[in-house]
Amino acid sequence: MIAQVTQQPVAASLIAILFAAAITDNILLTRFLGMCSFLSVSRQMKSALGLGLAVVFVTTATTAINSVLYRQVLIPLEKAYGVPADTMILILFIVVIAAFVQLMEMFIERVSLGLYFSLGIFLPLITVNCAILGSSLFMVTRQLDLLGSLIFGLGNGLGWWLAIMLMAGIRTRLRNARIPPALDGAGITLIIAGIMALAFMGYSGMIQVQ
């Protein structure tokens, strides 16, 4: 797995993780996670930007927090009491993400109203975004350390942001295109997402991702 990569010099391996997560292994276009908000909030560039940035931020932070939770709490528990860490992660990660998003919403409202008005309104939307949970779960399967998790989360978030921005851009253009009625709306969006995924697969030779 990525274990080979992490044995390389630290900086190089982190860049590899970031690049792999954002581009070659894009969580949205290769794993198809976070599709729901991807489809419904990609009508306008402005909303897509706000939501995308909120996802970048929350994915980075929660992947790191969950990494600490996994390594410092769940693994020791597994060793001491035999509680299988892998079955616990699902329920705990999602609770952590939900609580974190709530906390952040309050925090941002208190600290910066400008930021709250541009990003904060999207936070409730991503409490249950599966890309964010997916990022935490993949972090576990890849056995990343804290720094690696942080970069991995950032990469996933950036990848998701990139994908929704691209989609919003395409859909803005699409407004003037003639689309067969049966495919308009979600249909054409899914087809575009598929073509985008194919395009992103073109990057897959650049980094060894198993």
Partner: protein, 153 residues
């Protein structure tokens, strides 16, 4: 389905008893995005655009409102404004329009359309023709026929 919060806010304002008694959506239970998409599709299939229909409807509406209740005759069309006091905000909150309603009749073709002073604005700027079953639903095909609009070259 997760929704864009901006669209959701607009849709909430369209509910009955928020801005008007029966609201803007009538018996239409589709999400606002779908209503907008479906009408845009129909309009494009006729070879027209929301901007064109909206602008032409606005012109007619503005002239009719200026008649203060006296019927306006343009060709075969007779348009009458039933006045009301006060102004009604657009659900997108980007303009306020006189209250009241306008009946547009073309007796030679047997066509009738009921609109409000904000209908033209909502079509031109937001592609919104109101929901199915709404009192002021503007059927794009009917509007195009009444306004004498034919496909763009």
């Amino acid at each position: 389905m997760k929704r864009d919060p901006d669209i959701q806010r607009v849709e909430e304002r369209m509910a009955p008893r928020v801005l008007s008694l029966d609201g803007f959506l009538g018996a239409d239970h589709r999400p606002l995005e779908e209503i907008l998409d479906a009408d845009r599709r129909d309009v494009e299939q006729m070879g027209l655009s929301n901007q064109l229909i909206g602008r032409r409807l606005s012109e007619l509406i503005d002239k009719t409102v200026a008649m203060l209740g006296r019927p306006l005759h343009v060709g075969n069309i007779k348009a009458t404004y039933s006045e009301a006091m006060g102004r009604m905000p657009c659900p997108w909150a980007d303009g306020r329009f006189p209250k009241g309603e306008i009946e547009i009749l073309d007796e030679s073709k047997g066509l009738r359309l009921l609109v409000t002073p904000s209908s033209g604005h909502m079509i031109e700027h937001h592609g919104f023709y109101e929901g199915r079953g709404s009192r002021y639903r503007v059927d794009p095909a009917l509007a195009a026929e009444l306004l004498g609009l034919t496909a763009l070259p």
